[in-house]
Amino acid sequence: MSRKRHRLVPETFGLKRRRELGDVEADPLRCESGSAREAVAEIVRLFPRVLFEDALPPIALRSQVYSLVPDRTVADRQLKALQEQGEIRIVQLGFDLDAQGIMFTEDYRTRVLKACDGRPYAAAVQKFLASVLPACGDLSFQQDQMTQTFGFRDPEITQLVKAGVLTVRDAGSWWLAVPGAGRFIKYFVKGRQAVLSMVRKAKYRELLLSELLGRRAPASVRLGLAYHVHDLIGAQLVDCVSTTSGTLLRLPET
């Protein structure tokens, strides 16, 4: 049973401390404790732009933000505030209903404009970026919203879907999407499985974080080991145990 009493519950309510916990030494990946925006900026720095020839905006995942900001509810609230201010866009990545991608709005806008340059749907995309994006910060759009509030006709919506800016969710509703994100999702899913299998194959199914980062990345991991480790920790696909030799990643029993 865990005997640690967290300091967030005030001292009056806590039991007398049996022993003081020593300082956990700073690990290479775990020292961030600031805001969600700094966390997103940090992950964006880890994103390999060269791999996609700068055609994709740098995408961070929500689980990676949870790994850097320790309190999840606070992270959620800060991300929501950033979304409402229009600084970041959140998109639904298709492979998992839980995995949401976060990117800065400016990056998204420049990359989408560059991608649709000179194509037949350029006009519809530009109209979308100019009118809908600043007005509506949601992940999805409804039929009546698009036709009545923003004045899009059906052929224009079809062009947006062809351009990759919208993905079909249901009859009459669409998710916001990133054009060209298919390659990223493929590398991400393969890389996540590869890093998880590295932990699974280890003796006792646990690995020290420093050892994992020091190993050579297998060929299927194209986005970088640090990128994937943040995602695994935040999505709670591995348990993080703090030991005297650093952080240990262990596969959960359930």
């Binding site: 009056t12 309190d71 999840r72 992270a75 209903l97 409804q142 009546d144 009459g172 999505a235």
Partner: protein, 389 residues
């Protein structure tokens, strides 16, 4: 603690503050205790537990073999070591015992003279406690997953029943038949719960990923379908609103009825504002859930920051409700935990699991020193008497 006592004595602080502080301290110290035991009667998994709301003394348990047992939780012996004995039970030899697994038992909310039980044998049975005979039986066409009777209702005696069909049935105890049906879900109803604040508000959770709030007086459909993304409210989007990305397994209102907790097979637990159906976006992390039927979890009441106790595999995870922080995992069962109930008078937790055991988690505050055994026990029991008054 002494500071709280002297402040209360001098009138500087409200008496309620001391009570809440001490309750919270006790809940934070929950653990298995060698001095407290529950007699083992069940020969198969314990599916459901319920403690009567009047005195908090008697507990009902329902098992996978159809057996229902009634326990007395009160320690009337002067010894610290106590086993909660079974007062009586509806065993396999009883003529009216359920044929298959008992899924939910509930005491009649106003006194202990009656209790209801529902089971996979498509019946809801109403029992008289003193004679242990059936007073009434309701038959359904599908297996019954869950039922609940409103704890605050004075104007109606409706029992909400969730079955494998998509319709929620409301059975009236006074007339003995189903009074009406709530339509709106598309798959089986895994959990139902009445609001502890308003006697006509009902929440239901279904395998089609939706959780709905109903006012049973309204004929035209549900009040709100909970939407996890808090999207814009529009008629077209109502059908796409989902509370979870998988089946919604369990429902629990907080003790004041202002918030609703739901758990789903997408390994998430969500907290909703029960008046407008808004997702408060409190993030509890991964709450592992692979139960194919309902998951019965519970909340504390009377503490300053309320806690929720959720069965998590073979352990019980304890979180603070409004901040989402995980306090601890209570380890003790050998197999999957199915249900847990909280006794708010003594801040004790009872949990039942598939290993046929019911465990009692008792606050451990002062460790009794071997020499000074008697003194410490006297002080302990005096405190308990003071605060439960």
């Amino acid at each position: 603690m002494l500071g709280f006592l002297s402040a209360r004595q001098a009138g500087l602080e409200d008496p309620l503050r001391l009570r809440r502080a001490e309750s919270t301290r006790r809940v934070l110290g929950l653990e298995l205790n060698k001095d407290r035991d529950v007699e083992r009667i069940h020969c198969s998994g314990v599916n459901t537990l319920d403690i009567e709301p009047v005195e908090g003394r008697y507990m009902l348990s329902g098992g996978s073999d159809g057996v229902i047992v009634l326990y007395d939780l009160e320690n009337s012996s002067r010894q610290p070591y106590y086993t909660c004995k079974a007062v009586c039970s509806v065993g396999r030899s009883h003529p009216d015992v359920h044929k298959y697994s008992v899924e939910t038992v509930q005491w009649y909310p106003h006194d202990t003279g009656m209790f209801t039980s529902s089971s996979f044998d498509k019946t809801l049975k109403v029992w008289d406690t003193n004679t242990l005979q059936i007073a009434d039986v309701f038959n359904f066409e599908e297996t019954v997953y869950s039922h609940h009777m409103s704890p605050v209702a004075t104007k109606h005696c409706l029992v909400a029943v969730g079955t494998r069909g998509p319709k929620v049935q409301l059975c009236d105890l006074k007339s003995g038949s189903c009074s009406h049906i709530l339509q709106g879900h598309r798959q089986e109803i895994l959990a139902v719960s009445w609001s502890p604040r308003y006697e006509y508000i009902l929440a239901t959770a279904s395998a089609d990923s939706r959780a709905k709030l109903w006012d049973v007086r309204r004929a035209s459909g549900c009040l709100i379908t909970l939407d996890q993304h808090n999207g814009k409210k529009s008629q077209a989007a109502e059908s796409a609103n989902t509370a979870h990305n998988g089946k919604v397994n369990g429902l629990c209102f907080t003790s004041d009825g202002l918030h609703l907790l739901t758990v789903g097979t997408d390994n998430r637990m969500r907290l909703w504002n029960s008046s407008n159906g808004e997702n408060t976006l409190v993030n509890y992390g991964k709450v592992y859930n692979d139960s194919r039927k309902g998951l019965k979890f519970t909340v504390s009441s009377g503490c300053s920051s309320e806690f929720v106790f959720v069965p998590y595999g073979s352990t019980i995870a304890v979180y603070t409700i409004y901040s989402g922080e995980q306090i601890t995992m209570l380890k003790g069962h050998y197999k999957t935990v199915d249900c847990c109930v909280f006794q708010s008078n003594f801040q004790e937790l009872y949990s039942g699991s598939r290993d046929c055991n019911i465990l009692a988690w008792v606050p451990s505050l002062c460790e009794s020193v071997p020499d000074a055994d008697d003194e410490v026990n006297i002080i302990h029991t005096t405190f308990l008497v003071m605060f439960s008054a």
